[in-house]
Symmetry: C2
Subunit: 217 residues, 2 copies
DNA sequence: AAAATAACTGACCGGCTGGTCATTTAATCC
DNA sequence: GGATTAAATGACCAGCCGGTCAGTTATTTT
């Protein structure tokens, strides 16, 4: 009957695609985890979204939690690697670097499912300590360390006031994390609010508060 | 054998205490919801913590979700009522009012289970829309409205720069909410950080950034 | 082309948990 | 102090879900 069916229009019920599966699974999981949260996401749904059966899921990942772990690792780690090299090679004022970093990060996260990860991690941290530890070590502390170095430099150069570096770093990050968390939790019930306005005013206020008095750029 | 047993040392297996139950249940639920999250908290645990059986729980609340709702209503609403009257009667500089409000709120939330409520609400908002709406209307918007009025006044008096009021209000709240969320999610895996230092620096930076240039108090 | 391999499937299972209700027991009434 | 009321109990149930595995099918090997 059917001779020489092209592979792309195969009538098979399914095809073997060992290499492509893990990434497809991880992408499906991210979308669903962000949409419904970790606990509320059913493995059957992840399978369906990834275009496979539930059994196949377990050929590639031992458990739901392992998928969660893989999601973080797959999407976040490469981004941070990238930012680290950017900072290493940067030439210019501290203020400009902070602006560039925040805007760059913002541009590649906001309006993507990745913006849902902070809320996801925070919501599930209590029930999945391994995941929390991994995120803390591989995301939070690396980002924080970068920002601390930058602000430290700014203080040494006399651009900034001599404040407590770890604390001020957290204060730089807090509103940025916060709006992402908000976007994936209470925003549907809130008045609309423009993200760019928020971020720009945050950087403005933050730098204005941090810079030495009377200094303008 | 045992005649005239004092009520306080009654040998009964249990006692009828219709009036006291709801509050005890709501308090037990708050503690557990904050510790483990809503989904991960078992009704049997809530009952045990409240010193009753699971069946009794359902004499006082129709469902788990209703308890959640009652928790918010019971603990948060009275606090906001209080703050509203405080603000209404306030005489003094805008800056001092903001400081007093933040510190007051901080003092009565931080180091209590109430600090866990924001994380709780955010985590469960997606799965419990009614709860999210209730929290938004009865907590977030009321608090925000108060702060907007205050900052508005500061701008009109010439104390503050002429910034976008709704946005700057969110920026005032964000780090405060954020540290509470953090405390109940990733803090166990993070380096220790003093809350007072954080809040004080936030207010300092925020007001410094918001005040008109060259103005000192 | 048939035998061997391994990717894939989906019905099934065990354990768990929100919610129920027939029964028990404290408190009240007469 | 016996009858009545209603607060409280806890064994039980229905249904859901993460995870399994015996069997199926696409692909490769010989």
């Amino acid at each position: 009957m059917t001779l020489t069916i092209p592979k792309s229009r195969c009538h098979c019920r399914w095809r073997r695609r060992k290499e492509a599966r893990p990434e497809e699974i991880v992408e499906a999981a991210l979308a669903l985890f962000v949409e419904k949260g970790f606990s509320a996401t059913r493995m059957a749904e992840v399978a369906k979204q990834a275009g496979i059966s539930k059994g196949t899921l377990y050929l590639y990942f031992d458990s739901k939690e392992k998928i969660f772990h893989a999601v973080i690792q797959h999407f976040i780690t490469p981004m941070i690697d990238e930012v680290e090299t950017l900072v290493k090679n940067y030439q210019g004022s501290t203020e400009a670097l902070i602006k560039q970093l925040v805007h760059g990060w913002w541009g590649s996260i906001w309006n993507t499912p990745l913006s849902g990860i902070p809320k996801l991690v925070i919501s599930e941290a209590g029930n999945f300590p391994d995941m929390a530890r991994f995120y803390m070590e591989n995301v939070v502390k690396r980002v924080r360390s970068l920002l601390e170095q930058i602000i430290q430099t700014g203080v040494q150069r006399g651009e900034f006031r001599d404040v407590d570096i770890p604390t001020v770093t957290r204060l730089l990050m807090a509103p940025i994390i916060q709006i992402n968390i908000w976007a994936h939790s209470l925003r549907p019930y809130d008045d609309p609010q423009d993200g760019d306005t928020y971020i720009n005013l945050h950087i403005d206020l933050f730098l204005q508060g941090l810079k030495k008095h009377g200094q303008n750029t």
